[in-house]
């Protein structure tokens, strides 16, 4: 089937200026770190990036900010990144803040062929401005649109050659919905196993959503806030 690639270069070379990238991860947990680094090295500009957060100053999606490759960021929380603040205040960077559940559902909808949906989240707040309001059974909802990216960047734990994916603990987060919401979905994983070796009952993301699989080495998996029982 030829989904497994030995280098990210070829697929990342296809990404053009102005593309929309949807990327998994929560904070620095479960981020597609190899894909982000590869995109940084390629240097494409004017990207729209959809991801729950925008990394930190020197890691994760923060690397693309540092390199001034992002034109617009769609996220729910960006408070961990000083460079973000500078570029936002200077007008270089456009920002769309989306409530986290709405962001997850917009990606899920996009991936499921649902163009829009109604939600109570954001009613009566800035988020609702300019959006269609509709009442169902006496309660007000706003319409939110599905999101589909040109490329989806996914980080999983294990894959098989068909692209079936298994995630680990809370590194799953946005990755399964991101996987469904890309025209081309690239999954980077820590381990690839033979076809048939993953229990079909235990697969989190079906390979139908995944076009390319890459095995990364030496994952950094940086920890944002190390808290232990003694601290």
């Amino acid at each position: 089937m030829g989904k497994v690639i030995s280098s990210l270069d070829e697929v990342v070379q296809q990404i053009e200026d102005g593309a929309t990238i949807v990327a998994g991860g929560f904070g620095l947990c479960g981020i597609p770190e190899k894909l982000i680094s590869s995109l940084r090295d390629k240097g494409v500009k004017d990207l729209t990036v959809v991801s729950n957060n925008c990394g930190v100053d020197d890691w994760g999606l923060g690397l693309l900010l540092e390199n001034r490759q992002i034109k617009k960021m769609v996220a729910s929380y960006v408070g961990e990144n000083k460079r973000f603040e500078q570029q936002f205040l200077s007008g270089e960077l456009e920002v769309e803040l989306v409530p986290q559940g709405t962001l997850a559902e917009r990606l899920r909808a996009g991936g499921a062929g649902i163009p829009a949906f109604y939600t109570a989240t954001g009613v009566g707040t800035e988020v609702a401005e300019g959006k269609e309001h509709k009442e169902f059974d006496g309660k007000t909802y706003i319409m939110e649109k599905g999101i589909v990216g040109d490329y989806a960047f996914v980080k999983a734990w294990k894959a098989d050659p068909f692209g079936n994916l298994v995630f680990r603990k809370t590194a799953r987060n946005f990755n399964p919905v991101i996987a469904t919401a890309g025209k081309i979905t690239i999954a980077e994983v820590e381990e690839i196993v033979g076809i048939g070796e993953l229990d079909p009952d235990g697969i989190h993301t079906s390979g139908v959503y995944v076009q390319k699989v890459f095995v990364g080495e030496n994952y950094q998996k940086r920890i944002e806030k190390l808290t232990t029982a003694n601290s």
């Binding site: 904070g27 986290q100 997850a104 190390l226």
Partner: protein, 216 residues
């Protein structure tokens, strides 16, 4: 007792045996360590974990296992992991019994502002707007007045809203209020606090419960 301790000790009493609970980032997270051992609850973390355990020993730290505040945690027995869309199905679908959140301002009709201060860097609302619309009960904990002595319990919120009419219960260092369609009702006074002080430091209109309690 400090104001913060009074707030936290009162807030933990909102948690009942058998509940699924989401604790907001910051001060509400501290409540996790105060839950009595005979109260069995599942704490939800919106990044995809129901059943947050204690902080890990140094040898147990796992970068793939964090809470919504991005702190390393463990998972307790009976915990489950899930993706972000499912996590917010739990929240938005009304399956979470209780959310305890921090506040910047609360108004007399139960509006909450807790995500943005105009003129300061916008950090984002994270999951707060989803939680206030979806969880069955919303408890807000905050100081009664700000550092300039101004009431944070307002007639109308001045900061951008997180949700309108969403607060069920407000716990401050001075008092506890409940919110119903009839408005805001003072139900408890913190230890050593007089009704007059609450009246003086509350900008919003409120009624006083006939069974007003003074906490020990």
């Amino acid at each position: 007792m400090t104001g913060r301790k009074l707030i936290l000790e009162r807030a933990v009493k909102e948690i009942q045996d058998g509940m699924c609970v989401n604790l907001g980032i910051g001060m509400p997270t501290l409540i996790a360590n105060m839950i009595p051992e005979d109260v069995d609850v599942m704490l939800q973390s919106e990044n995809g974990l129901l059943g947050i355990g204690a902080y890990p020993k140094e040898t147990e730290v796992d970068p793939d296992l964090i809470n919504a505040g991005k702190e390393t945690v463990t998972a307790k027995a009976g915990a489950s992991y899930f993706d972000s869309a499912e996590s917010f199905s739990m929240i938005r679908g009304g399956h979470i019994d209780l959310a305890i959140l921090g506040g910047m301002e609360v108004s007399g009709n139960g509006d909450l502002a807790n995500w943005m201060i105009p003129g300061k860097m916008v950090k984002g609302m994270g999951g707060a707007m989803d939680l206030v619309q979806g969880a069955k009960r919303i408890v807000v904990i905050m100081d009664h007045v700000n550092k300039h002595g101004e009431s944070k319990v307002k007639k109308n919120c001045t900061l951008p809203l997180t949700g309108q009419g969403v607060v069920h219960c407000l716990i401050t260092d001075l008092a506890v209020f409940h919110f119903t369609d009839a408005g805001m009702e003072l139900v408890e006074l913190q230890n050593g606090v007089a009704l007059d002080e609450v009246k003086e430091k509350t900008e919003a209109d409120f009624t006083v419960s006939e069974s007003l309690k003074q906490l020990d």
